[in-house]
Point group: C2
Chain length 462, copies 2
């Protein structure tokens, strides 16, 4: 297996070894998620200036690099950081608030009134920090978010060091951060100013809530602004059968055709859920190269339906995975999502061959990167890409024995198996602990927010 | 909330406090799983001679007991040990061996030939130890097993200290441990001699593989032997549509009616899978009080089908949860099973109210105990029952905030959150580590077995 190494102008030491920031060696398995889904046994990774400088067998790399930090990872598996393509991170403050209710009661009697009373910049800051901490610990290095007061999510993601696409939510209704919908454009433009061009971990986005909560003009000006800025446009699409039927009746076209007619579908559009799609809608999404985030646990828990994932994959749609929010999941663990995606579609299709482990892992990595418009930088362990890496501790009962590393990742590994996480070459999780914040403080602040919600809520907690 | 305390003849100290082995106090939440599904905030538990002596608020219990070992569990949730009602523990040696294959190829080209060549008492001993270690770490204190060379599973369960129902597998075909099926009865009777009457953690059982691999006479003598011994009879039932259809054609009756005609259905019969059932079969299972183990992950992964769990529950069938083996799962984590049961049936039934968190937790605890015929001793935290207890660390991002403890257990907690486990009052897991064996040795021995399988297997590993 040839070593894969970048030409580099980095300095060499006296023995002619190239100086790098990090050298990870003796890794039992590296799952690269490159196009060939190559796995390297007893592998090594060199990182310099935040990027992957070399990947290959330990015996080839060990003598070529001198590292400021050298970590031997015997008994570990390394993989690209996972990409959560759809969440509302701050809603971690509402984790498990009123489960097992009918969707309409849950939304209109619990979630919406609670959001109206409690969502503010503090809620978004601490909730996003909590969510980002949970995600990093679980090996999610990049998340794609949309919520209110999203500038506070920018602050939180910046503080903890996650990679993220962060979107201001836009509706034609009063929202916690925008009582007057006519001011939405100003709010969106103001939000975009919170990004620092030199930051390579955070990218802005705008999120039109849904075709039934944003009128045609809104969808169009938001998409136009996204095009001007070269940023991702997000939207919830056909989550429920009722919503798809109503929209079809109102506009005389199925939801995907309607969006296409408005000109909002292109390769920088990401459609969350996309459950109730007809064949021609799937083909249209593939043709426009728009991404889909499949949020299997949320869809199951809310009984929204089963997205036609095998059909979308066959049609060439770029399907990524998302957790949705903690209010409908109730966690942000992409390992658990991968396991469910692989298993749910098998039983639904009566076919144990659909959504194989490699295909599902691609959805959580390279396809997530592509759906976010970030494929050139992240999603796989390939030389030149950002060093977003997770290391999983294999020396555990539930990960022994190991016959096939990709299968083990999808069907047996859990978020809690992640021991080390690098984002852009910075180790943000070491030995399972987030290094970049005071986790106890975050838990304390979120408990305060939840205490206020619990004491004021009209929902009866038993 | 009145304290719940057993009359006891245990000695008292100088202050009149009753002496107990363990006192657990300051527990954030105790989820009792009693009939009322009572949860106790800031609770305490007293354990004496392996049994629960008292359960109640810390402020009530703290002064009444003097404990040889006192553990403060601030930031933890305590619940009954989970009960895995269906597994083949030793098959942990085959974890992830050839995934994503058609069922028939998987069985006939991989699993059966591998079992024929490799299953022996060592395989069963080390495989069962590995599985039992995984289960204890994940909060499963009781498992219900069936496999070959099951006397080696008895040795393993005895060594690690799990509670278990252990069944010798019986087929009318040559098996790894019984090349001559006519000797099955002698093999079964010999197996029953491996149990020590004084052991209260291990109970014997017999497992007729399935109605299509055991003829009527076999099913009948095995059930008769079980009745004589007062032990559990297990069988795989209607896992695939084809199997149910073929049996119906052959015997002129649906599988449940056929078993009933043979007289093998009663409250000490446990039917694994039970997916392809008609309404009258469900009613018959309820009438006979036979248990069902629902193995949701295995059923999904093998695309076997979705068991009619909500209908069975409404009909009064005792539905427990099982993991099935690591060859079709690929782990033994009942938290992951609970989460899937709660979510899968919602999306299948288009109803977010079915399989609520409390109902699912009951399946993994009290209903598991009932299905195993062990309800008087285990399955809930109630005074007089065995002290099978798990303590979960709540001070983690994915378990914060906490609005409702049962919901948090089912929808957010993972096996890896279990920090301490008691079986019959003995702490077998402390700080997440199994105390009763050398885990590194077990991992090493299983890797050896897997190495031999991998090197000899005709299946091509890539």
């Amino acid at each position: 297996m040839p070593e894969n190494s970048a030409a580099s102008s980095a300095p060499a030491d006296a023995n002619g070894r190239q100086e790098v920031d990090w050298l990870l060696t003796d890794i039992d398995w590296i799952v690269t998620c490159n196009d060939a889904m190559q796995c390297i046994e007893d592998g090594a990774i060199a990182i310099q200036a935040g990027r992957l400088t070399a990947i290959g067998p330990t015996r080839e790399l060990a003598g070529k690099f001198h590292a400021r930090r050298h970590l031997r990872l015997q008994g570990h598996l390394a993989a690209p950081g996972l990409i959560n393509a759809h969440t509302h991170a701050a809603m971690s403050c509402l984790r498990g608030l009123a489960d097992d209710l009918p969707l309409q009661r849950w939304l209109y009697e619990v979630i919406f009134p609670t959001e109206a009373r409690h969502v503010n910049p503090d809620f978004v800051y601490w909730g996003t920090l909590l969510a980002a901490a949970e995600m990093l610990q679980n090996g999610v290095t990049t998340f794609c978010d949309g919520y209110f007061f999203e500038h506070s999510a920018v602050e939180a993601a910046r503080a903890i060091g996650s990679r993220a696409v962060l979107a201001q939510g836009i509706l034609d209704f009063p929202t916690p951060d925008q009582p007057d919908p006519s001011q939405a454009r100003a709010c969106a433009e103001d939000f975009l100013r919170h990004f620092n061009n030199s930051e390579d971990r955070l990218r802005p986005s705008l999120f039109c809530h849904a075709p039934y909560t944003c009128k045609a003009e809104t969808l169009q000006w938001v998409k136009q602004l996204c095009r001007q800025q070269g940023i991702l446009f997000q939207i919830h699409l056909s989550e429920t059968a009722e919503e798809a039927a109503q929209l079809t009746k109102k506009y005389g076209a199925r939801p995907v055709s309607y969006l296409d007619r408005l000109g909002v579908l292109d390769e920088l559009t990401l459609c969350a859920h996309s459950i109730w799609l007809q064949k021609d809608e799937i083909e249209l999404l593939a043709k426009r190269k728009s991404g889909v985030s499949h949020n299997v646990e949320s869809n199951m828990k809310l009984a929204a339906g089963v997205a036609p994932v095998p059909t979308m994959l066959r049609a060439g749609v770029c399907v990524a995975l998302g957790t949705d929010s903690c209010a409908s999941n109730n966690d942000l663990d992409l390992f658990s999502e991968m396991d469910k995606v692989a298993k749910l579609h098998k039983v639904i299709q009566h076919d144990p061959l659909v959504c194989s482990a490699p295909k599902v892992l691609q959805m959580a990595t390279v396809k997530g990167a592509a759906a976010l418009g970030w494929k050139e930088q992240i999603g796989s362990l390939e030389v030149g890409k950002q060093a977003d890496i997770i290391a999983i501790d294999l020396a555990q009962p539930h990960l022994t024995p190991l016959y096939e590393p990709v299968s083990q990742l999808v069907y047996a590994a859990r978020g809690s198996d992640v021991r080390h996480v690098w984002v852009g070459g910075e180790r943000v999780v070491a030995d399972g602990r987030v290094q970049t914040l005071d986790l106890a403080e975050v838990l304390r602040e979120v408990r305060k927010i939840a205490g206020a919600i619990k004491s004021e809520s009209q929902y009866r907690f038993e």
